[in-house]
Structures are given as structure tokens and as C-alpha cells.
């Protein structure tokens, strides 16, 4: 039995503690904003925060997340930085197919939480683990700068 706190709500997992967190969040809790893209931490679509740090939930066993605070895209707006990033994403119409964008936003929020004024190069470093097949990168970069300005 594993106790997990997701967006401030407690959940209990009774199955295999080696199961990646992604599948607990999606299939057991039923929160589907966090996406399955590759299963091997190469695309970032499954990015969530574990005590504020961005992690790839597709390779993170449920056991590792026990007792920690998990934040998913569904909880992003509760945080000032998260809300600002989402607002900038909408303002610049970043999304296309949208499948990767929960992960993109969670990575961007983690970046802005520790770096209030990232350069393009900071953005490239922090965001290069998140693939967007629609290649919305020009706007992702612009939206992160826009959110930084809004938060300043």
C-alpha cells in the first residue's frame, strides 16, 4: 500500500509499487492531463512535479513518490507561476495538437520557479527534454519570456 498526495489530495495505491507514477495518475486516479508519449523518459509528455522538481512520471515508480507532493497539470493553476505560464500559453496560442503541452507547461513552471528571468539559452537547457512534434518551440520560448515578464 502506497500513500500518494496529488495536487493536495491523498490517494492510496494498492497494486504494484514498481508501477510508474504516470499510470497511477492516469489509469487509477483518472487525471488524464499528464500524457504517455514514449515510456522511457525521452519526450517529457509525462512531466509532473515531485516536491516542486520536474520528473518524468513514466519512469518514476509509485514507491519513489510516496510521501511526496505531486503536482500535475490539473493542479498547475493553483500556483502563481503555473497560472502565469498557462495564461501566456493562451495569450500566444502556443498549442497545436496539444498532446505534449501539459509536459511543456510543467517544465516551464519548474524553470520559472527557480529562474525568474531565463535567457533563451536557459530555456533551451531546461526545455530540451520536452519534445513537441508540432514544433511549437518558437512560441514556447516566447511564452516563457512573456510569463517571466508578467511575474516580474
Amino acid at each position: 500500500m502506497t500513500d500518494l498526495t496529488i495536487n493536495g489530495v491523498k490517494h492510496t495505491h494498492n497494486g504494484d509499487a514498481a508501477m510508474p507514477l504516470l499510470w497511477f495518475i492516469r489509469d487509477e486516479v483518472g487525471m488524464t492531463g499528464t500524457k504517455f508519449g514514449c515510456g522511457v523518459a525521452q519526450c517529457g509528455a509525462c512531466t509532473v512535479h515531485l516536491d516542486g522538481q520536474p520528473i518524468r512520471s513514466c519512469v518514476t515508480p509509485v514507491s519513489v513518490a510516496a510521501g511526496k507532493n505531486i503536482t500535475t497539470i490539473e493542479g498547475a493553476a493553483a500556483d502563481k507561476v503555473g497560472a502565469a505560464v498557462q495564461a501566456s500559453w493562451r495569450k500566444l496560442d502556443v498549442v497545436q495538437c496539444g498532446y505534449c503541452q501539459s509536459g511543456q507547461i510543467m517544465s516551464a513552471v519548474a524553470l520559472l520557479a527557480k529562474n525568474k528571468a531565463p535567457t533563451d539559452s536557459d530555456i533551451d537547457s531546461a526545455m530540451s527534454g520536452n519534445v513537441c512534434r508540432c514544433a511549437t518551440y518558437v512560441r514556447i520560448r516566447a511564452a516563457i519570456h512573456d510569463a517571466a515578464t508578467a511575474l516580474a
Binding site: G15, D16, M19, P20, W23, R26, D27, E28, G30, M31, T32, G33, T34, K35, F36, G37, C38, G39, V40, Q42, C43, A45, T72, I73, E74, A76, A77, Q86, W89, R90, K91, L92, D93, V94, V95, Q96, C97, G98, Y99, C100, Q101, S102, I105, I123, D124, S125, M127, S128, N130, V131, C132, R133, C134, A135, T136, Y137, V138, R139, I140, R141
Partner: protein
């Protein structure tokens, strides 16, 4: 059903090989009238506020449905029914803009819902069936959607005139408010909806003069799917959860053409949570044989799948390796092929030229690799079937599922969800993954499994599942006269046909030539007096498919890099050389001149220490849209290439949503860059080598250039933008690399060829 009509070129004249709008990727539509399913389902819907929820749909009580495309609720909501799939290209937003413009709705009251699968109402007139593809959404729907909006508006106005007893001509509508100034009366759409519903539908409506547009061409921050896609509520197939649903993960045959000899599922069944194991035989030439593990959740199903031991019968399997494939292609390219397009006397023009340039090009197989791996939710009940899918080809898929299940097409309903990318893959010419899902559902049902099933492909299943952009070899010979004028062009193209062996063959293959193999070459608008394009079609049992911009993905690269090569051989500037060959093509000239001017063509690039720098250009027409791109590159001493900046000019006729057009150019450039820099699917004795993003790298943010997009102002009919941004980027970059290094890259992807 006549999928695919031949249509003439943008100038209305049939060129020597008639341009065809391809049934390619791009979206589709939807489904069913299906019963409100579950809590989180409902049709895909999105509003500007909190899109994508069942609540949005539920609140939209239909009070007034003037036609199949618009519903106005008593709550003042305006719902636009989208017949084209939203897979990222912005179709929902475009369709809503067209209808809302003529309706004079307030943009904030408009939401979009995917249409059900119903070809009588939602046929794509450019494809001939219900489906999305070939960058046709705006071209197909701009007039019908405007008429739908104008009809609704006229009925609202007539209702107000009757209610207020004033002449209809004195009534105005603006931002969702109906007004009669003299009597100071006003009403919202919602207040007038039930009365409008009783008005006769006008036979004719007058559309706005473009100078009166308030939404078309002006909106920004406008995407109707932005909110749902930034807060996690947008629903994709992968997100569907139905009561009692089981997840299926499959062990697929490693070779195309294999069958199942035997399997041992004892270890799979021992995994806690595994419910059943189902044999899924293949339809030859359509899908791969597989064994499916059904479980309560995806992880358990995958654990079970990984524990299966399957023995495959490989006697009939595809066993070629990439080197053998390309050897065959190159050998054939030395021989004459079927003539796909010809003018003048090419043989004579190549005989004793002042200069002869020869080159051959190699293009690999490519996977679509959309971010959402393929999947499908299916519920077969013996006498009906419901499907939930990011559905791009309703008419085909409905028929294919019905045939597999022994049902009539009308017994199969399809609910359309957002597609997490497609790039052509979900517009499967043989409905491969739908057939697989239906085969699985039928076999499971026969074993007593009555639950709905979610079939989930892993990334590796998706990447190794075939339906690739076919590999091609091009061999070109071109001649210049003594003045450096291009006078002769022979191009031999070798590869698999996308259409052959599919239901589309009668519409797309003529006298043995699949138009999608040669489009962009045989119909080139360059004024070359003597030109012959020939085709060799190779038949493999390896399934191939359209991939964002189809034939143009390789023809534009071969043609535009060769043109560049010829310009240099003639001692002419590459832009000047092209302008001279395109004198009679005003729209090509328009984008070429605009891109060159905005990129400061002719002005030296600012030097960067330790870097070789170069600028290259390419221009290409695809899907009746014209695009020119200028790429600026830097290459360091180790041969590391960086594309610094791309300047793009596009002419797609009337710009309905300029910001969406810009986004599609940006995305198309990034998508094309990934392919030319990194992507190839290779075979080792028939097995696909690449399985995940480690072996099939995606373009990442650190590789994305700065991009500027400029639109040519135009009143021509709108054409598509989902694909046309892709073709020019490869040759523009290759030409820039030549400018920087004097090296010609003729084999894709670039890989490490510059560091050699």
C-alpha cells in the same frame, strides 16, 4: 463513393499532369450520435473559456439549428459543428471564424464541437468522402461555413423584424447583439433563438464584402482549443475511460507479413490484473499479426504483453535490409521508367549541352511519430460497434470496421476526439489500426469479453508499425545552354506507391503513375522547355502512407537543390535564376521576392567567429499554396550545423486566421527540419531498427531556429497551410549549407555528413 476528385491547378488550367488534391493527413471528424458516454466523454468540444468538457456541451441546449453546422442555444451559446478533425492545424478555429464572421457573433460566445460521422452532411467535397487531409479544410469549407453563418444571421434578423414589427433591412447585428436603432430594441441571439427556429430558411444569402470583415484576417489569441490544451482537460483517444473498460497492449510481429505460429501466454496470465490474452490475426497487407493482453490498466497490460512468448511464422515475411533496398532503387534509376510528365525533346536537350549536371538523391523511410502513439477505443456488442478515435477518415474507417465485424457501416458509430498529432498517420489508407482494433474486439467478444477495449500502442509499436513515408531515389540530369539557361531536365524517381493496392488507387494512379510519387516534379512550374519526369514503382509488402506534404517531401528537395546547383553552374544568383524561370508564375514570384527581401538576400551575413555561414533559398507550391523560405546556417569546425534563422513567405489566398497560418509555417519548418537533419527508418533483414526517440530523434527546442513568417496579401480563394510549410525547408537549408561549405548533401538525413 468517389474519394478524391481530380481538380485543376490554382490557375484553373489543367497543367500537363493535373495537380491533384491529395487525400493526406489533416484532420477529421467525428462521430456519432452516440449516446452520452460516461462522465468525461461527450463529443470533443471547446469554448474560449473552459473548453473540452461535457459541461460545455450540456449547457448548449439547442434552440435553433438552422443547418448542420450551427447551433444556437437559449443560453446564448453558439456552437459551430466542425466537419474537419482538429489535430493541431487549427481547423476548429478556422471553421468557427468563418461561421462567426457571417453570423456577426461575439467570438467569446462561440465554441466548437466535432461533427458526427455522417457523410450525407459532412462530406469533404475535395476528398469525396468524410475525412480530413490534403490541406483541404479551409479550401473545402470556407464558402459553406460562411453561408451557414449568414443563413443563421438572416433567420435571427427576420425573427427580430417580425417580433419588433420593423423592416428587416433596418436591423443590424454586431458582436452577438441584434439591434433596431430607431426603436432602440435589442436582443441577444439566445433571446431570439426559438423565434428564429420558426423562420423559413432563406434560399439565398449574401456574403459580406471582405472590407467588412471583423474576424477573418484579424483575430489573435484565438484558438478555440487553447484553454483545454493548457489545463489538461482536452480529451484525446488515450484519455477515454469507459465503465468496465479493459486496456489492450499487443505483441506485434517483428516483421511485416509474418503470421502467428504459436504462443505461450502462461507467464502473461500470471501477471496480477491480466484478464485475458487474445490472438489478433492480421489481414495480409493491412496490419501486423499480434497477440493482445487485456488488463485493468495500461501498465498491467504492458507487463503481461512483455511476458508473452510468441513464435512467428516468417516464411512470407518482408526480410530486406536498407542497403539492399537502396541498391535496387539506384539500379532502377539508371533505366527509363514510366513517363509521368513530358514536354519538348528532353533527350535532344541533354545530348550535347554546354553544361550537364547529374546528381542522385536518397530519401529514407520516415515514421510520422506523432506524440500520441496510435490507439483506438472500441466497444463491439455483436450487432453494433462504437469507436472513439482521433478520426481522420470516417468514411473509410467506418466501412473497414464494419467489414471486419460483419456489420453494416451504419452499425458502426465513430466519436471523434482530438488527435495528438497525425501528420497523415491517422488517415490510414487501409484503416490498419481500426482493422486491428475491430479484429481484436471481435475475437475478444467471441471469447466472452463484452467490455469496451482501449487498444494502446507503445511508442515502439507506433514507430515499428509501418505506414511510412516511402523511401525514394531520384536521379536528375539537367543541361544549361551557353548562356546559362536551363534547357533540359530529366528526372527519374524510384519508390513505393502510396495509393497502389488501396481503395484510392483508381483515383490517384493513372497509367501506372501514382501522382503522389511525382507531384512537385512532373508538374513543376519552372519554365523548362524540355522536361521529362519518369517513375519506377517498386512493390514491397511494407506499408507506406502520406506523411505531411506527401510527395513534396522529397520532390521539393531534389528539384530545389538541383535548381540551386544549376544556378551556381550558370554563374547566376539563385534568386535571379529562379525569377527568370518563373516569369509566368505570379504567385511563385510573389513569395520568392517577399522572402528574399525580408531576409536581406544579397547582403552578406554577419560573421560569427569560428563558424562558416551561409544562406539558401527554396520556393515550392503544394496543395495550391505557395511558400518560399530562406535559411541562414552556421557550421562549426567539427561540422556541427545550426539553423539560425528562417524567413518564410506564404501565399495561401485569403488569410482566414493569419496567426494560425504563421503557426503552421513555424511548425512545418520545425517538422521538416527534424526529417532532414535526423530522421530515418532503416531495416535489418526486415526488422525496423528504430523503436523510440533515442534512435529516431525529434527536433528539440535548442535546434529550433528563429522564424519570421510573412503573408502575401491576397483575395484568392483560401487554400491549406497544414502541409505547405514543410517542403521548402529541406532544400533551403541544404542550399545554405552549400553556400557555407561548398558541400552538396544529396542523401537524407544529414546526420553527421558535414563532420566527415
Amino acid at each position: 463513393m468517389g474519394i478524391l476528385n481530380r481538380i485543376t491547378g490554382n490557375d484553373g488550367k489543367a497543367s500537363n499532369s493535373t495537380p491533384l488534391i491529395n487525400v493526406s493527413r489533416r484532420s477529421f471528424l467525428q462521430g456519432t450520435g452516440g449516446l452520452a458516454i460516461g462522465v468525461c466523454l461527450g463529443p470533443v468540444a471547446c469554448s474560449s473559456k473552459d473548453a473540452g468538457t461535457a459541461a460545455t456541451v450540456a449547457s448548449n441546449i439547442p434552440a435553433f439549428e438552422p443547418n448542420a453546422f450551427i447551433r444556437i442555444g437559449a443560453d446564448n451559446s453558439v456552437t459551430v459543428i466542425a466537419k474537419h478533425l482538429e489535430m493541431g492545424q487549427g481547423a476548429f478555429t478556422g471553421l468557427a471564424t468563418l461561421a462567426a464572421e457571417e453570423l456577426d457573433a461575439d467570438w467569446s460566445q462561440v465554441s466548437v464541437e466535432a461533427a458526427p460521422a455522417d457523410v450525407t452532411k459532412y462530406k469533404n467535397n475535395l476528398l469525396g468522402g468524410q475525412g480530413t487531409g490534403g490541406s483541404t479544410a479551409m479550401a473545402d469549407s470556407h464558402e459553406p461555413m460562411r453561408k451557414a453563418g449568414a443563413t443563421a444571421r438572416a433567420m435571427l434578423v427576420n425573427a427580430a423584424a417580425a417580433e419588433w414589427k420593423v423592416p428587416a433591412a433596418e436591423i443590424t447585428v454586431s458582436k452577438g447583439t441584434i439591434r433596431h436603432a430607431a426603436s432602440k430594441k435589442e436582443a441577444s441571439f439566445g433571446q431570439m433563438a426559438d423565434k428564429a427556429a420558426k423562420q423559413p430558411v432563406p434560399a439565398e444569402v449574401v456574403l459580406k464584402d471582405p472590407k467588412d470583415f471583423t474576424l477573418i484576417g484579424t483575430l489573435t489569441a484565438t484558438r478555440k482549443d487553447s484553454a483545454a490544451k493548457t489545463n489538461g482537460t482536452a480529451k484525446f483517444t488515450q484519455d477515454v475511460k469507459l465503465d468496465g473498460m479493459l486496456v489492450a497492449v499487443l505483441a506485434h510481429a517483428p516483421h511485416f507479413g509474418s503470421t502467428i505460429k504459436s504462443f505461450d501466454d502462461s507467464k502473461a496470465r500470471a501477471v496480477a490484473g491480466v484478464v485475458d490474452v487474445i490472438r489478433v490475426d492480421a489481414v495480409p497487407g493491412v496490419n501486423r499479426a499480434a497477440v493482445a493482453v487485456l488488463a485493468k490498466n495500461t501498465w498491467v497490460a504492458k507487463q503481461g504483453r512483455d511476458a508473452l512468448v510468441v513464435e512467428w511464422e516468417e516464411a512470407e515475411a518482408f526480410k530486406l535490409s536498407s542497403a539492399e533496398i537502396f541498391k535496387q532503387f539506384h539500379e532502377l534509376s539508371a533505366k527509363p521508367g514510366l513517363v509521368a510528365g513530358t514536354r519538348g525533346d528532353t533527350a535532344a536537350a541533354l545530348k550535347k549541352p554546354a553544361k550537364l549536371i547529374e546528381a542522385s538523391y536518397e530519401f529514407p523511410y520516415l515514421a510520422h511519430a506523432a506524440m500520441e502513439p496510435l490507439n483506438c477505443v472500441i466497444h463491439y456488442t455483436g450487432d453494433s460497434c462504437q469507436i472513439w478515435n482521433g478520426e481522420q477518415f470516417q468514411t473509410f474507417d467506418q466501412a473497414a470496421a464494419a467489414a471486419t465485424l460483419g456489420l453494416k457501416p451504419e452499425q458502426v458509430s465513430i466519436t471523434q476526439l482530438y488527435a495528438g498529432g497525425s501528420f497523415g498517420r491517422r488517415a490510414s489508407s487501409k484503416s490498419d489500426f481500426i482493422v486491428e482494433a475491430a479484429t481484436l474486439a471481435k475475437a475478444a467478444y467471441a471469447k466472452g469479453v463484452k467490455a469496451p477495449l482501449k487498444m494502446v500502442w507503445t511508442r515502439e509499436d507506433d514507430m515499428r508499425g509501418g505506414y511510412y513515408r516511402p523511401a525514394f531515389v531520384h536521379a536528375i540530369k539537367a543541361s544549361l545552354d551557353k548562356d546559362g539557361k536551363l534547357v533540359g531536365w530529366q528526372q527519374r524517381i524510384v519508390g513505393q506507391s502510396i495509393a497502389k493496392g488501396t481503395a484510392l488507387e483508381p483515383y490517384m494512379v493513372h497509367e501506372g503513375v501514382d501522382h503522389t510519387s511525382v507531384e512537385g516534379a512532373s508538374d513543376t512550374r519552372y519554365d523548362i522547355a524540355n522536361l521529362q519526369v519518369e517513375l519506377h514503382t517498386i512493390d514491397y509488402q511494407l506499408p507506406v502512407l502520406w506523411w505531411r506534404s506527401v510527395g513534396h517531401t522529397h520532390t521539393a528537395y531534389a528539384v530545389e537543390t538541383m535548381i540551386d546547383e544549376l544556378a551556381h553552374a550558370a554563374g547566376k544568383d539563385p534568386v535571379e535564376f529562379r525569377l527568370a524561370l518563373l516569369e509566368k508564375q505570379p504567385r511563385h514570384l510573389g513569395v520568392l521576392e517577399l522572402a528574399a527581401a525580408k531576409a536581406d538576400w544579397g547582403k552578406p551575413l554577419a560573421p560569427i567567429a569560428g563558424m562558416k555561414r551561409g544562406r539558401g533559398i527554396a520556393v515550392h507550391e503544394s496543395f495550391n499554396t505557395f511558400v518560399a523560405e530562406v535559411a541562414e546556417v552556421s557550421i562549426d569546425a567539427d561540422g556541427m550545423l545550426k539553423v539560425d534563422r528562417v524567413v518564410c513567405a506564404v501565399d495561401c489566398g485569403l488569410a482566414i486566421n493569419p496567426d494560425v497560418i504563421k503557426a503552421q509555417m513555424e511548425g512545418g519548418i520545425g517538422f521538416g527540419l527534424a526529417a532532414i537533419l535526423h530522421s530515418e527508418i532503416t531495416f535489418d533483414q526486415g526488422k525496423v531498427v528504430q523503436g523510440n526517440f533515442g534512435e529516431y530523434p525529434m527536433l528539440r527546442i535548442n535546434e529550433m531556429p528563429v522564424i519570421e513568417v510573412h503573408l502575401v496579401a491576397s483575395a484568392e480563394r483560401p487554400t491549406g497551410v497544414g502541409e505547405p510549410g514543410v517542403p521548402p525547408i529541406g532544400p533551403a537549408v541544404a542550399n545554405a549549407v552549400f553556400a557555407a561549405t561548398a558541400k552538396r548533401i544529396r542523401k537524407l538525413p544529414f546526420g553527421d555528413q558535414l563532420s566527415a
